[in-house]
């Protein structure tokens, strides 16, 4: 921006023209490298399409083929589309750069020389198409071109001057002419700037020391865009586009015809997976054996500058390729190669020359590139760095790089987080969301209870079996899942289930393996396991690091659902439930928004104290990022599921689909979120998940107006030169976007897409302008946790909405309140961020606890009182329950107002306590008190806001629930039948060593058995033993510890039965020695042994039972039946029993009388005695 403006203008127009060449150069270079190395690279899966469009040119593959990965796209095929426009080329086009492109550190000269060559190459390509091309304007270039020596390699390497264009060999050019018909597609008039291009301007006049892009000032780009807009582009565009497409179609067709026979130029390598077996073939790379060093150096610089300048579609794809070269094994032919390849090739065309035919050359090139890309490499995770630092080839080819890598390794802290391995863990049951009150009916609650268990049953079954051969998800689980869906539909439980499903999904799949795009996501353990093995396998694994976890699919796998995600995907597919999908989408959207709103806080590396917080934040960020990507992938899957087609739709179908689908709004407004994230500098969190979402688009979606905008904006992110975005954040974004464009491109013709993107850029100019002006204004560093550097107040802070503040606080004037808010913000501004977080956290927790506390105290109290009131009133005749409830509640509402007062008290008490505990001891008194006050205020706002809005409803709900429970209690409304207070405690000093109730019941049962019969001859019950049993019964009843109501009731019942049987002499007592002669004459009842037992029973019934004893059962028909045939003695005993009952106040006389009266109604046998 220091140059005079006219100079700048002239250069700009020059650059515009150059750019069109430039965009062809990158794919050419990438293809060239692949082609050159194809023979030597047998040590890995073919690096997928360098030019993203390559697959689009072939016959459209079906969806399933796409899913199968790149396996079908052979290396050979990749080379067939050499110069067609690629994403990379579009990225490289200055027209697409509405912003200033700054110089990058240490690469400007390299970049510039690279660009020179690029221009040259591009020009040469353009020339041969002169006929077709509408640009006669290239002729100027042609004249220059002819001056360049065609085979400069003849000159000794030492004479090569990198910065001298004349001497630099334009390697790709000749190849374009001789080997293959160029498939370059005409530069299409999609940009309004094109007419401005001044072809006569010579490339060489551009100072090589500066990157052309650096001169692309903001002003001029704006100008260009204005021009673009003035030209009523939209209408022109749509027309020209139409033509364009036709043209492209024809061209592609003709090219395919002309090209096809020549396609299989490479022997197809069938790569053996068992590397150790071949390992003896691995050549020892020797720096001394490198040939064409200069050329390789040139190529390495060129290639590196492409990477540095974001000209490659996907950085990690290229790194993968470089590592492939680094670890290449070479072949015997390469080894047997000529002793002096330079001489033998001297007469060959430059591009025909094999610069990469020996391992030595490949390694040399790779090491050079790695050296140039040290900045990126040094940020790789630690395990990766270790492998690189230990790589012997690097050590021998570049000791300096080796040293730097060692240093990087030693200082690296970038460990891939070891998240929990994927294993089934359940989602915990939370009463707040899962208990009965969250369901409309008992039935719904009950059914969901079952659904939850069925869901996990399915999951376990899947876990156990899915890897077995012949196990088919749909066949085994399909019908179960659909039955489940039917149940859910019947009870409207979908939302509950969707929540469970989503939570389980996160629980199981948020681990790193779920990632599709990111390269460094494999757990560190892999690396650890690799160490210690021999060098060769290390090499191999090093290379596989780029492939794992997508081991078969190469570094750019299509979106997939690895591991446990498979279960969830298949579940959705098998369920095939509209309701479920909708609820699941709702649930996913909510969670995504929640996570996307994560507060990002900046950390400065100022003091050691920040480290821990920083770690926590990093962890939080990582978890959020991984979860977001996972959720977004599933959301994308669901959203685009209905539109998925195996085949690319025809144009007609596509057009009509577009008309239809342009009318509907997306489920989640990702465009808005994307814009927001850019504005708030949070794109490092947002873009990765949006990429996952978009990776699952169907064939049509990218053409929808809405998604075109989204893709356009994403493209801008690639192109933008966000200086203040940290290096690694940028890298992350580039990586995921590179992957996205790679993955999405086969869905539709990338050419068209590219063109569309140009329009988008024009459309989005407002957007991007806003983006960058905003960032200029509010420029704060993006809180970056991946990079470990951040920005001041980068994240937004959740502010608790003061819902009820107005009703509570006296209304201060608006300005005053605003001032207060401002003051509060100012207070936090100069404090460490942890203070703010603490205060907010305390406010949130105290507020929430306050509500819980009020519920447990005040509300519970009120409910208790309501219960008493209801109990009294409900006994009145003919009460309308609803009305009664309403009445009682209204009465309580007034007292409910207490809640606010108590709530405020609570917050005032608890808030400061918590703040004091959480803030550093050294916090100054003033800061502390301010923090406390703010916390209390926020907590009060939160709690009282909720309470004032909900207290009445809460009281009503609770009272109603209690009332319903009250009505349900059997026999409730019967007045005056209050059971005696249950005895709760053991006798003081109880040792809890009484026999267990179960044992006593068992023994009494035995007695009853004998008494009821049938009994064997001579079977008796020992009197002493029975006495002892009753004694133990007494002990057992006195120790309350092991007693439960059912046991006690059973004991009561059994003892009453026993009494009846005793009285009617049904228990064959053996008196043993104590009373040897059983006198036939009538004993006085008092001396009857039975009466002793009865006395014991009276005492036990009276003293020991905590529950009421159903003594009235004695008068039941059955038990009186025992007496019916009784003798006089037994009647005496019966009388004794009656007296005893009255004496011990077990029954009242009147009760006995009424019982006896009712007995009279029974059919008695003839009264004989």
């Amino acid at each position: 921006s220091t140059e005079p403006s006219e100079e700048r203008g002239g250069q700009r127009s020059a650059l515009v023209s150059l750019s069109l060449l430039q965009k062809d150069f990158v794919p050419f270079l990438l293809n060239f490298l692949r082609e050159q190395t194809s023979q030597i690279l047998t040590n890995g899966p073919p690096t997928p399409a360098k030019t993203p469009n390559s697959k689009a040119h072939g016959s459209q593959r079906t969806g399933s083929e796409r899913r199968a990965g790149h396996a079908t796209s052979s290396r050979v095929q990749l080379f067939s589309q050499r110069t067609s426009a690629s994403l990379g080329s579009f990225l490289a086009t200055p027209e697409a750069l509405p912003v200033r492109r700054g110089r990058r550190k240490g690469s400007s000269s390299v970049g510039a020389s690279g660009r020179q060559v690029a221009r040259d190459l591009g020009r040469s390509l353009a020339e041969e198409e002169d006929g077709k091309s509408d640009s006669g304007s290239w002729s100027g270039g042609r004249r220059k071109r002819s001056e360049v020596p065609l085979v400069p390699a003849r000159s000794p390497p030492s004479q090569l001057n990198l910065n001298n264009l004349e001497e630099f060999p334009p390697m790709g050019a000749a190849s374009g002419w001789t080997n293959k018909p160029s498939r370059r597609i005409n530069p299409t008039p999609v940009s309004a700037e094109r007419p401005l291009s001044k072809p006569k301007t010579c490339f060489t006049s551009t100072p090589v020391s500066r990157s052309p892009a650096a001169r692309w000032s903001a002003g001029s780009s704006l100008e260009a865009f204005t021009a673009a807009q003035e030209g009523n582009l939209s209408s022109v565009i749509s027309n020209s586009l139409q033509e364009e497409r036709e043209m492209l179609k024809k061209e592609r067709y003709s090219l395919r015809i002309s090209f096809d026979p020549g396609t299989p130029t490479k022997p197809s390598y069938t790569r053996s997976a068992s590397l150790p077996a071949e390992s003896h073939l691995v050549t020892c790379a020797n720096p001394a054996k490198v040939s064409c060093k200069k050329q390789l150096e040139c190529l390495a610089q060129l290639y590196s500058s492409c990477i540095t300048e974001n000209l490659v579609p996907n950085i990690f794809l290229e790194l993968f390729f470089v590592l492939q070269l680094l670890t290449s094994k070479g072949t015997s032919t390469a080894e047997d190669g000529d002793s002096d390849p330079e001489i033998s090739e001297i007469n060959r065309d430059v591009t025909e020359r094999q610069h990469f035919e020996s391992v030595h050359n490949c390694v040399y090139f790779a090491v050079r590139v790695l050296d140039y890309q040290y900045e990126i490499i040094s940020h790789l995770e630690k395990g990766m760095l270790k492998l690189l630092a230990e790589n012997e080839r690097i050590a021998s080819f570049s000791p300096t790089l080796h040293k730097r890598l060692r240093q990087a390794y030693e200082s690296s802290t970038a460990k891939v987080s070891l998240l929990l391995p994927c294993s089934v863990q359940s989602v915990s049951f939370q009463p707040e969301t899962d208990n009965r009150s969250n369901f409309p009916s008992d039935r719904a609650f009950h059914i969901f209870k079952k659904q939850r268990d069925i869901f996990y049953e399915l999951l376990r079954e899947w876990e156990d079996n899915h890897e077995k051969t012949g196990w088919d998800f749909e066949r085994v689980l399909g019908s179960k899942i659909r039955a489940m869906m039917a149940h859910l539909s019947a009870t409207c439980n979908h939302s509950h289930f969707a929540r469970l499903f989503q939570k389980q999904l996160i629980q199981m799949c948020k681990g790193p393996v779920s990632g599709g795009a990111s390269w460094g996501d494999t757990p560190d353990q892999d690396v650890l396991n690799m160490l210690g093995s021999d060098n060769l396998s290390r090499l191999k694994r090093l290379q596989e690091r780029f492939v794992v976890p997508q081991s078969i699919r190469g570094p750019c796998p299509p979106p997939s659902f690895p591991g446990c995600q498979q279960f969830f995907r298949d579940f959705i597919l098998s369920a095939g439930s509209y309701q479920f999908n909708q609820h699941l989408m709702d649930s996913l959207c909510l969670k995504i928004l929640e996570l996307n709103g994560l507060t990002l806080v900046e950390h400065e590396h100022s003091d050691g104290e920040a480290d821990m917080e920083e770690q926590d934040e990093k962890k939080r960020f990582t978890v959020a990022l991984l979860s977001l990507r996972l959720l977004a992938k599933f959301l994308g899957f669901l959203v685009f599921l209905p539109y998925r087609t195996a085949e690319q739709p025809t144009r007609d179908l596509q057009d009509s689909a577009l008309v239809l689908r342009n009318q509907t709004l997306p489920v989640l407004d990702i465009l808005k979120l994307l814009r927001q994230s850019i504005r708030d500098q949070r794109s490092v969190l947002t873009i990765p998940w949006i990429v996952e979402y978009l990776s699952l688009v169907d064939h049509i979606a990218p053409f929808l107006d809405y998604y075109r905008k989204v893709f356009g904006l994403l493209l801008l992110m690639v192109l933008s030169e966000e200086k203040e975005m940290s290096f690694l954040n940028k890298l992350l974004i580039l990586a995921v976007l590179g992957w996205l464009f790679q993955v999405v491109s086969p869905v539709f013709s990338f050419l068209n897409f590219g063109i569309n993107l140009f329009f988008l850029l024009a459309y989005e100019v407002d957007d991007c302008f806003c983006v960058f002006s905003c960032t200029g204004e509010l420029r704060k560093l993006l809180a970056s946790f991946v990079a470990g550097s951040g920005g001041k107040n980068g994240g937004f802070i959740r502010k608790i909405t003061p819902t009820a503040a107005e009703s509570l606080a006296p209304k201060a004037s608006v300005t005053q309140r605003k001032l207060q808010v401002d003051l509060e913000q100012a207070f936090f501004h100069n404090q460490p961020p942890s203070l703010r977080r603490t205060v907010e956290f305390v406010a949130e927790r105290v507020g929430s606890n306050c509500v819980k506390h009020i519920k447990a105290t005040l509300v519970a109290e009120l409910v208790q009182r309501a219960e008493v009131m209801l109990q009294d009133k409900v006994k009145e005749e003919d009460v309308n329950h609803d009305k009664l409830l309403e009445e009682v509640c209204t009465h309580l509402y007034e007292e409910g107002a207490q809640a606010l007062i108590k709530g405020r008290e609570f917050c005032r008490k608890k808030g400061p306590e918590a703040v004091r505990v959480l803030l550093p001891e050294e916090t100054s008194a003033a800061v502390l008190s301010s923090a406390e006050n703010i916390a209390v205020e926020l907590a009060t706002e939160r709690a009282c806001g909720w309470l004032s809005a909900n207290i009445a409803a809460l009281i009503k709900r609770e009272v109603k629930a209690t009332f319903n429970r009250m009505l349900k209690v059997p026999g409730f409304p019967l007045p005056g039948e209050d059971a005696p207070e249950l005895r709760r405690d053991c006798t003081p000093g109880c040792q809890h060593c009484a026999p267990f109730p179960s044992q006593i019941i068992n023994e009494i049962k035995d007695v009853l058995c004998v008494a009821v019969g049938p009994r064997e001859e001579g079977e008796v019950v020992d009197y002493v033993w029975l006495e002892g049993l009753l004694g133990r019964l007494s002990q057992t009843l006195r120790c309350r510890k092991f007693m439960c109501p059912t046991s006690e009731q059973q004991l009561a019942r059994c003892t009453v039965e026993l009494a009846s049987l005793l009285v009617s002499d049904r228990v064959p007592l053996s008196l043993g020695i104590k009373c040897p002669e059983k006198s036939p004459e009538r004993l006085h009842v008092k001396n009857n042994p039975t009466s002793g037992l009865l006395k014991l029973l009276f005492s036990i019934w009276k003293e020991d039972f905590g529950t009421s004893v159903p003594v009235q059962l004695i008068f039941s028909k059955k038990n009186m039946g025992y007496l019916a045939e009784a003798k006089q003695q037994e009647w005496d005993l019966f009388l004794f029993l009656l007296h005893g009952l009255i004496e011990h106040e077990l029954m009242r006389t009147s009760e006995i009388q009424s019982c006896l009266h009712s007995l009279e109604e029974l059919p008695w046998p003839s009264v004989s005695n």
Binding site: F429, N435, F996, S998, N1002, S1047
Partner: protein
């Protein structure tokens, strides 16, 4: 316990056989004839023993049939249960005696046995609670969980999980029975997995032992023991100790 479980299995196998309309009719007629001849003879009990069926269940069949004839409707389950619990409610004195005799003499079924089982279960729960308190492991008991609205409730949920023999557990279920194959499968289905589904891994204590092979879900998160574990590792608050 083991005998009882084996007996129950056998009863379950033959259950259907005794519930065919013909069988019910036969039993009822035999009962009627029997009590006609001698009302105090253990007619029902003998009948049950003769056909190898649990006396309580036989009593239930005949009672049901009797009520059906008397009321002309199929009696409700609650009514039947209530009458079995308290035969005094049975309107026929003879039948009441017969039924009572059956329930008292049944060693595996019937209200008395049920109550004994329940009592044993409860007692072991209390014992377990004691042990937890002794070990200072804080827990939430079943009734508290129910009050909070949990749909499935193990006996105890540990507020702070512990590791037993290296396995983390969140809950403990006490079973005062022998863990045999069929009962364990049923418990897994109805209870243990449900607990796992809600609270994560946990521990089941079969106080009367279990078949060792059943303890195969340790890795998944269901641990079996026949006593209170001794190898317990608790979460130490290392921060506080420093």
């Amino acid at each position: 316990s083991i005998f009882s479980q084996e007996y129950q299995k056998q009863i379950k196998r033959t259950h259907a056989k005794h519930h065919t309309a013909e069988a019910i009719e036969t039993y009822y007629q035999r009962y009627l004839n029997g009590v006609m001849k001698n009302a105090v003879a253990p007619v029902l009990l003998d009948l049950a023993n003769e056909v190898d069926f649990a006396p309580s269940l036989m009593a239930r069949i005949v009672l049901e049939r009797f009520l059906q004839e008397k009321e002309q409707t199929i009696p409700s389950k609650t009514l039947i249960n209530s009458m079995l619990r308290d035969p005094s409610q049975i309107p026929d004195g003879v039948l009441a005696n017969q039924v009572y005799q059956c329930t008292v003499n049944d060693c595996c079924y019937g209200p008395l046995v049920d109550c004994i089982k329940h009592a044993i279960g409860h007692e072991h729960e209390v014992l377990l609670r004691e042990m937890l308190l002794e070990k200072n492991l804080s827990f939430i008991a079943e009734d508290q969980l129910r009050a909070k609205g949990y749909d499935k409730t193990p006996d105890f949920i540990l507020e702070v999980p512990v590791a037993v023999e290296g396995h983390i557990i969140h809950w403990i279920e006490s079973k005062a029975s022998f863990g045999d194959e069929s009962s364990h499968q049923a418990y897994l289905q109805d209870q243990f997995w449900s607990y796992w589904n809600r609270f994560g891994p946990g521990l089941v204590i079969y106080w009367y032992g279990f078949i060792e092979e059943l303890d195969c879900h340790r890795e998944r998160g269901i641990l079996l023991k026949d006593c209170f574990p001794t190898d317990i590792v608790t979460l130490r608050h290392s921060m506080a100790q420093r």
